[in-house]
């Protein structure tokens, strides 16, 4: 703290505190499903509200089934999403089809709702190239494993959209740990310098594997990191679907109106482990913290809100759950039916025209595969 003995000429501490005060958390629905901020209430029709809830419930079921299928060995790499439905699904709901999504490895739901067929998402999990073959009219890239890389690429996609004169944005996601990467900073800074239409979302789920958010940075919020790029930053209750939708929609509007990128921090929580590859959250998290966050469940508060408006019922929810389970079953079957990968397939996907070494190796493997 600033010394009391001698009045500081430059009160740097005060400057920091005054910046931090600016990043108050935006919330529309509280934990009880009550609207506490009418001014921020997004303009959504009854049908849209029901659709948003349906997608969140579907995504929760997708998570439960994915964990189970992973345990049965019927899925491979999987990063649980339960708890992050408002952050992931409501933010996606604020985008349009022409928007381009650069997801991280936990952001499979967003690209599914943007148009990636479910069976392809399962093939991604298993490790099959067909899972990453994106349908032509779906503006997404496969989930990014290198944390931060999607941020610098987003600056490029957004600049591309701007140069093409499209009224669309590039949207990307990372986690709280990812905000420590150089590419995180370079991405937001480039987009800022070029005035590019990008929406950068940080899903702060409190932990980067076992490392708590406090160990990533001394900054009070991740949203305030936007200041370093000279772009708007917003902190939002990531367990509140209406608040997430509202702030992402606003960021999108600013972007397509030529006002440049925004950084949005969604404060949320993952109920499950980091991934299904042996991470055990009981090593670094207490059940008290888990319980505290479960009270904030985005589906619970949105359910109460919609039931209050007569838009949602147990029956409706069960319909969504059954539909999800049915579609997941069909998708897994379709993934099972996908032909196995051959080395010649992998070689063929390397270049438009194969260089001599791959031409040679193609012939060798073609011969092996014919036996």
């Amino acid at each position: 703290m600033a010394s009391k003995a001698k009045a500081a000429q430059v009160d740097a501490v005060k400057t920091l505190e005054s910046i931090e005060e600016k990043f108050e958390m935006v919330q529309v629905l509280n934990e009880k499903g009550e609207v506490i901020n009418d001014k921020m209430m997004p303009d959504l029709s009854d049908e849209q509200l029901v659709e948003l809830m349906s997608r969140m419930v579907y995504t929760r079921i997708l998570d439960q089934r994915s964990i189970s299928l992973n345990r049965q060995g019927r899925l491979g790499f999987y990063a649980p999403t339960a708890g992050q439905e408002a952050s992931a699904i409501a933010s996606h709901f604020a985008l349009e089809k022409e928007d381009f999504i650069l997801p991280g490895y936990r952001d499979v739901p967003q690209i599914i709702w943007h148009g990636l067929p479910l069976y392809k998402a399962f093939l991604f999990s298993r490790g099959h190239f067909a899972g990453n073959q994106i349908p032509e009219d779906v503006n997404v890239i496969p989930p990014q494993i290198i944390i931060g890389a999607q941020y610098v690429q987003t600056a490029g996609v957004a600049l591309g959209l701007k140069k093409r004169g499209k009224k669309a944005v590039a949207a990307t996601y990372t986690g709280d740990g990812g905000s420590s990467q150089g590419d995180f900073y370079e991405g937001i800074n480039f987009a800022g310098a070029f005035g590019a239409p990008a929406v950068f979302i940080v899903q702060n789920n409190q932990f980067a594997i076992s490392t708590p958010r406090e160990k990533q940075t001394a900054a009070a919020t991740i949203a305030q990191k936007a200041v370093a790029a000279g772009i708007p930053g917003v902190l939002v209750d990531g367990m509140d679907p209406l608040a997430v939708y509202a702030v992402v929609r606003e960021a999108r509007e600013r972007a397509i109106n030529g006002e440049g990128p925004s950084l949005i921090e969604t404060l949320c929580y993952r109920y499950g482990p980091h991934t299904m590859a042996g991470d055990d959250p009981t090593r670094y998290r207490t059940s008290d913290t888990d319980n505290e966050w479960e009270k904030k469940d985005p589906i619970v508060r949105f359910r109460i809100y919609l039931e209050g408006k007569g838009l949602w019922s147990e029956e409706k929810e069960n319909e969504v759950i059954e539909k999800a389970k049915e579609e997941i079953k069909e998708a897994i079957k379709k993934a099972d039916d996908t032909p196995k990968q051959k080395v010649t397939d992998l070689i063929s996907n390397m270049f438009e025209e194969l260089p001599y070494n791959l031409q040679e190796q193609y012939e060798i493997y073609k011969e092996k595969e014919s036996k």
């Binding site: 381009f100 190239f129 067909a130 990453n132 073959q133 994106i134 032509e136 890239i141 496969p142 290198i146 890389a149 941020y151 610098v152 690429q153 987003t154 600056a155 490029g156 996609v157 957004a158 600049l159 591309g160 959209l161 140069k163 093409r164 590039a170 150089g182 590419d183 370079e186 991405g187 800074n189 480039f190 310098a193 992998l346 996907n349 390397m350 270049f351 438009e352 260089p355 001599y356 070494n357 791959l358």
Partner: protein
């Protein structure tokens, strides 16, 4: 035809492709109004505007990401990394991302990106400007790596690189930028990637080389010729993929070969050339294939360049060992 230095031929190739294809974008640190630290992009922003030729913030990784993102929107990016020693900052965007872009998406996306970057010693640059790091790039599946040694090759190869629909690393040796002029056609022409060129024909020994070492090798070959040895000099031009056909054909004729590179012995691509010759032409060899390289130390402090960099004398010495084996 016009007499051009290599840097002029590069500018000419960039101008040609900026004219030919409106999707070509040239960007990097100081490539715009300044025309590049070596004048490689001189006059291009003025001719094509800031939408096509523009400066970026000082961050190589961001430049790599920018190129990838722009490629998803149908652009043909030609970014510049100011000196190739700075590639470490952008290794992920190059090797971890753009090289894999087509494969990881099963062909849904591709990355028609050409990264231009100067490198190479002999001009007393400060630290990490001159390092030969082409070996790192040559080890990455999904990349092609091109290193011209003449103005003529630079123009034809750069046009081919820009038109290639997969990522190409185009490395420009600083010592060759203005060291000599050559007749270069003013019209457009291409030189296929992955094709070496026999710069000098000979029967007794093949010198396989690239970059600035092409010129040292020719100088050495001429000296050896005076002593009665007929020496063939092959300029690889593309170091990944290698032009196996040209290399093997030459070795089968001369029965002796050396590989010459400016990089350290544990780096570069000489070991790969030796292995390919051993695999494919061992029965033609009258002697082992030896290498001329720099010592396995960090790139020298600038005053030590003359004693550290390989030169024509080292090439003559190694050539004689092979000729007299």
């Amino acid at each position: 035809m016009a007499q051009m230095t290599m840097i002029q031929a590069i500018t000419d190739a960039l101008r040609t492709e900026l004219r030919n294809d409106e999707n070509v974008l040239v960007f990097g640190e100081d490539v715009g109004v300044n025309g590049g630290v070596f004048r490689a992009t001189e006059g291009l922003q003025k001719e094509f505007g800031e939408e096509r030729v523009f400066d970026t913030p000082l961050a190589e990784s961001g430049i790599g990401g920018l190129a990838i993102g722009l490629s998803t929107q149908g652009y043909r990016p030609v970014p510049e990394i100011q000196f190739f020693g700075f590639v470490y900052e952008v290794m992920d965007s190059i090797s971890g991302q753009m090289a894999r872009w087509r494969y990881r998406t099963g062909g849904s996306y591709h990355a028609p990106i050409t990264i231009r970057s100067p490198f190479g010693g002999g001009v007393h640059t400060p630290e990490l400007h001159a390092d030969s790091l082409e070996g790192l790039m040559a080890q990455q599946p999904g990349l092609k790596v091109v290193i011209p040694s003449t103005p003529y090759d630079a123009k034809g190869l750069l046009i081919s690189a820009i038109r290639d629909n997969d990522p190409v690393i185009f490395l420009e040796h600083m010592k060759l930028y203005r060291s000599f002029r050559q007749e270069v056609p003013e019209e457009e022409y291409t030189i296929p990637l992955g094709k070496a060129e026999v710069k000098k024909e000979g029967k007794d020994l093949s010198i396989i080389t690239y970059g600035a070492m092409v010129h040292d090798s020719i100088k050495a070959a001429e000296a050896l010729e005076k002593e009665g040895h007929s020496v063939e000099v092959i300029d690889l031009r593309t170091i990944s993929p290698l032009d196996i056909e040209t290399i093997i054909k030459s070795v089968e004729k001369t029965n002796r070969a050396i590989v010459v590179q400016e990089a350290q012995k544990q780096a570069g691509i000489a070991a790969n050339v030796v292995a390919e010759i051993n695999d494919r032409a061992i029965l033609s060899l009258d002697a082992p294939v030896l290498r001329v390289t720099a010592p396995d130390t960090v790139y020298p402090f600038s005053q030590a360049e003359p004693v550290w960099l390989p030169n024509h004398k080292d090439i003559i010495e190694t050539a004689k060992k092979v000729l007299e084996f």
